[in-house]
């Protein structure tokens, strides 16, 4: 049975974790951990794929006698869980393959190896959990395991602070989820998902649960303004773990949101469909703007995760709006778009983090201003990173475009929604989505161009060497998937049909049987897209042009110094940097969003000091939300400090007072 097989895989991962804790310092521990993780994840991936494609036959439930004594631990495999297990285990398998090579650079393997399989097991367990207790327990287990991995290099500057912030935000998220499940379970305490599903909460309670789910799952996924920990914590971990956290763990958070809101909560209210896309749209634009201002390669990628989570939530929110208005076909389209973006983002974000890890291990730096020209020294990494960059920028014929195209198609269906607020809001969300897509392209021209193109800016970049074969293999598997999902999207959309069928009672028409593998979400007269044809056309036209020109015109090449308008400068510091590349966009958007200030420090005539340009960016959200909270907490802690130094009489009085107050509350409550 599929579910039992998956649970055995998870048990195997946990056993690997224990074995690694014992033997982490041995030379073979790395091969053991990543090899075992690769094997189990691949098996789990195969089982989950089979369960998704043959979904009703392979679904199942299991109850294990662990956890709360009167509840046990429920596990259930359905179409939604199977889809997210595919995402989780695809990411896990490639990250393990990458780790086989990349883990060689690890200085403190005993801080990484034991937690890595535990982290993988935690993510799998969350998706399989079928009662509130198991869900929260495994959710917290996943958070703690990843937190340990974030702290693996705790001596590097900033990592401890990042881990601390992550811990705080994860606790906040778990608290919100705990309350959400508490409200859902009601006073009777029916914590199994089956009994939650059977109950129908009042509109007020359901709205509260939605808000709590947005906080709980949103803080883990990185919704603005709960995203602050993400760009600090994700890059702090070793790169394959960064890839898992950014590419996969945020998707587990999306799973939590979908499970609670679409599955457990029953029918949605229409205003949910206004709130969720609006948050998604703001998240998307803010995420990409933050990314544009960033010069640290891994942090840039982490901010892009924030953007893509925004895009996913736009799709989810539209699905809620359509479902609330009883438009199942449109809801299925929006949900398919969101879920396809979940898959696509997990693929290209893992790929990009692997590339960033290869750059980091080859040069020792993540700062883009110290890189450049790596395409000459690391050609394969550069090619894989380029494919990932084009895919994440939502450009055809790669996969990122397909899911954004579907989201646009869903937006174009929304004038039929009856509520006025939605009529005003949805086009605005569409504009935000279009803006974020265009800005993402600018950001990845910067990320790829400054890191891999041009001339090396430092000695470290000049002496970089290509990364190992295992890492390259992991990257090219994902790059191939980016292209495959871009040119044959019909198969991937069809695989999602059982999920949308279960959650919206509708699914898109079968796609892969259509002529020429075109995708047609609604009707052929309305919209269609064919990535395969576009790809072959572009390849054909480019090949034809190259062939004709080389044969009939000229194929002579002469190498020479760059022209640069007649003033070539030999020094690589005259190149455009990441900061100068994003300067025009900083001028356009930054003055509002970041209160960006530029000051030129020009020395007086005769002074030989270099002129300097100072750029100051303020994180408005941090200043408005987090700094005051931290200040308040510090203030209260300072005041309460006195309580720690009371006499015994003082403490007794305090206890007595507390008792009296509690009794009074009880008396009033009754």
């Amino acid at each position: 049975m599929a579910l039992a097989g998956l649970l055995w895989c998870i048990a195997l991962l946990l056993a690997t974790s224990v074995a690694a804790a014992v033997s982490a310092r041995r030379g073979w521990a790395r091969a053991l951990v990543y090899g075992a993780s690769l094997g189990t994840s691949s098996i789990a991936l195969a089982i989950a794929s089979a369960a998704l494609i043959a979904s009703p036959t392979l679904a199942g439930e299991i109850q294990l006698p662990v956890g709360l004594p009167w509840l046990g631990a429920h596990f259930r495999l359905d179409a939604l869980a199977a889809f997210f297990l595919v995402v989780v285990n695809l990411g896990s398998a490639t990250a393990s393959l990458y780790g086989l090579g990349y883990g060689r650079h690890e200085e403190a393997p005993e801080r990484v190896l034991p937690f890595y399989p535990a982290f993988l097991a935690g993510m799998n367990l969350v998706v399989l959990a079928d009662d509130a207790f198991t869900f929260l327990f495994t959710w917290e287990f996943m958070s703690l395991a990843s937190c340990a991995l974030v702290m693996a290099h705790h001596r590097e500057r900033g990592n401890v602070a990042a881990g601390y912030l992550y811990m705080l935000m994860a606790s906040l998220g778990t608290l919100a989820l705990l309350l959400a499940f508490g409200v859902l379970a009601g006073p009777a305490g029916g914590y199994a998902f089956a009994s939650i599903r059977a109950a129908t909460p009042s509109a007020f309670v359901a709205g509260g649960v939605l808000a709590l789910a947005l906080i709980g799952a949103g803080s883990k996924a990185g919704l603005v303004p709960l995203h602050v920990w993400l760009p600090l914590a994700h890059p702090a971990a070793p790169s394959h773990v960064s890839a898992l956290m950014s590419g996969v763990m945020t998707k587990v958070a999306v799973y939590g949101f979908v499970r609670i809101v679409f599955d457990l909560l029953g029918s949605p209210e229409w205003w949910w469909g206004a709130l969720v896309p609006l948050i998604g749209g703001i998240t998307a634009v803010m995420g990409v703007l933050y990314a544009l201002m960033e010069h640290d390669l891994k942090r840039l990628l982490a901010y892009h995760t924030v953007e893509n989570i925004g895009i996913i939530f736009i799709g989810l929110g539209l699905a809620l709006a359509f479902r609330a208005n009883d438009m199942p076909a449109a809801a299925a389209l929006a949900l398919t778009a969101a879920l396809l973006h979940v898959f696509n983002h997990s693929v290209f974000k893992s790929l990009l983090f692997f590339g960033a890890g290869a750059v980091l291990s080859a040069t020792g730096t993540r700062d883009m201003e110290k890189l450049g020209g790596l395409i000459h020294r690391m050609p394969f990494t550069a090619l894989a990173f380029l494919i990932g960059s084009v895919a994440i920028s939502a450009l055809p014929p790669f996969n990122g475009f397909v899911s954004e195209w579907l989201t646009f198609q869903a937006i174009l269906l929304s004038p039929a929604l009856p509520q006025w607020l939605l009529k005003f809001l949805v086009p605005a969300v569409g504009a935000l989505l279009a803006l974020s897509a265009a800005l993402a392209a600018a950001c990845f021209v910067k990320a790829f161009g400054v890191t891999f193109l041009g001339r090396p800016r430092t000695e470290a970049a000049r002496m970089a060497a290509e990364t190992d074969r295992a890492s390259l293999a992991a990257m090219f598997v994902l790059a191939a998937l980016c292209l495959l999902a871009g040119i044959l999207p019909g198969y991937f959309i069809d695989a999602l049909a059982p999920v949308t069928e279960a959650l919206t009672r509708a699914s898109l028409p079968r796609q892969h049987e259509l002529d020429w593998l075109t995708i047609v979400p609604i009707a052929e007269s309305r919209s269609s897209y064919n990535g395969l044809l576009l790809f072959s056309f572009i390849a054909l036209a480019a090949g034809l042009a190259a062939e004709v020109i080389h044969r009939w015109a000229s194929d002579a090449i002469r190498r020479a110094p760059p022209w640069d308008c007649g003033f070539p400068d030999a020094s690589p510091i005259t190149q455009y940097t990441a900061g100068s590349f994003s300067q025009p966009i900083r001028r356009v958007f930054g003055s509002v969003v970041f209160r960006a200030r530029e000051e030129v420090d020009m020395p007086a005539p005769g002074d030989t000091r270099a002129a300097r340009l100072h750029v100051r960016l303020q994180d408005v959200l941090w200043d408005a939300l987090y700094a005051p909270t931290a200040k308040l907490v510090a203030f209260v802690a300072e005041r309460l400090n006195a309580v720690q130094f009371l006499t015994i009489r003082g403490y007794l009085t305090l206890v007595f007072g507390a008792l009296v107050v509690l009794l009074m509350v009880l008396a009033i409550w009754q």
């Binding site: 569409g430 044809l533 760059p562 690589p572």
Partner: protein, 318 residues
């Protein structure tokens, strides 16, 4: 039979856009020169330029990588494919279902992405300045374009250009405020995307204000020829989109017979002549703006497109 005809129309369309594009650019240049009381180069000068460049050797910077060498072919191919999917003289292109209007905008985005990377590849300051500004302009122009696409496809109930052209000829569209706003927005986007005055000057060199020309400064020989050809095709593409969406009269509908195609071709030529004339007059009458005024211009285009879409969202039957 119908498929064979559609296939012929498709091939004809691909050849027409490729053959006419340099002529359109030459015509605009000639007109601009006349408006400035100059003689101007002959109409066929762009063809001669292309042929001359194609025969010359490529001078490649030492620091150039394969991205620099592959980019011109990809840029040309992507732009050509995009242009081949816009109905010019006839709808019913065989492959028009492969990409709708959103995909065509995104295809142009792919071309721009590659070209901007090529600008950064050699590692010179001019290439960087061009790429950086091009992406800034695109980051506003692309959403503006998508808003126009939203407007038009809401009216037509489709994002397919063939269906849009057919439905815009129909009786139930009429004159609408949204369409007027969208037209203005689209024209502004087209000016920006094609690096025309007042955003960018296609004739400038050695100026800190140049955008597109700075990005391709390192290109020579056949690479430069391909990039120039791509930019000619892009100008033609935008004029075709405007003509197809807002002035679709005369476009031959699939299956109307041979004369309809001939009429379609003639009408299309007239539209291009008119469009080129308006472009030349506009460019001569207006001064180039500072690069940091460009966001205001494109922000206005974005707002026009957004307003047009919003009006439709609100007035559509609920």
């Amino acid at each position: 039979m119908a498929i064979a005809l559609d296939f012929l129309v498709q091939i004809g369309q691909m050849l027409v856009v490729l053959a006419l594009a340099p002529l359109l650019t030459g015509y605009v240049r000639k007109l601009k020169a006349h408006l400035l009381r100059r003689q101007g180069p002959p109409l066929v000068q762009p063809y001669r330029d292309l042929l001359r460049l194609l025969r010359k050797e490529v001078v490649l910077a030492h620091s150039a990588s394969w991205v620099f060498r592959v980019a011109p072919y990809l840029v040309f191919a992507t732009t050509w494919v995009a242009a081949a999917l816009v109905p010019t003289f006839a709808t019913g292109l065989l492959f028009s279902y492969a990409a709708d209007m959103i995909a065509i905008v995104a295809l142009l985005g792919s071309a721009r992405f590659m070209l901007a990377l090529a600008g950064l590849d050699v590692g010179t300051s001019f290439g960087g300045i061009g790429s950086s500004r091009e992406m800034m302009i695109a980051s506003l122009a692309e959403p503006a374009m998508l808003m126009v696409v939203f407007t038009v496809s809401l009216l037509a109930g489709s994002t397919q250009l063939s269906s849009i052209a057919a439905s815009m000829q129909g009786p139930d569209v009429g004159v609408r405020v949204s369409l007027a706003l969208a037209l203005v927005g689209l024209v502004m986007v087209a000016i920006a995307e094609n690096a025309r005055i007042p955003i960018d000057n296609p004739a400038t060199h050695l100026e800190l204000t140049m955008v597109h020309e700075a990005m391709i400064l390192e290109y020579s020989g056949r690479h430069l020829a391909l990039i120039e050809a791509a930019s000619y095709v892009k100008l033609l593409l935008y004029m075709s989109v405007i003509a197809c969406v807002f002035f679709p009269w005369g476009v031959a509908i699939s299956g109307q017979g041979f004369t309809a195609y001939l009429i379609g071709l003639a009408v299309y030529t007239v539209k291009l002549v008119a469009g080129g004339f308006l472009l030349a007059v506009f460019e001569t009458a207006i001064a180039k703006m500072r690069v940091f005024r460009v966001p205001d211009f494109l922000g206005a285009a974005l707002m026009l497109g957004f307003l047009a879409a919003l009006l439709l969202f609100v007035t559509r039957a609920g």
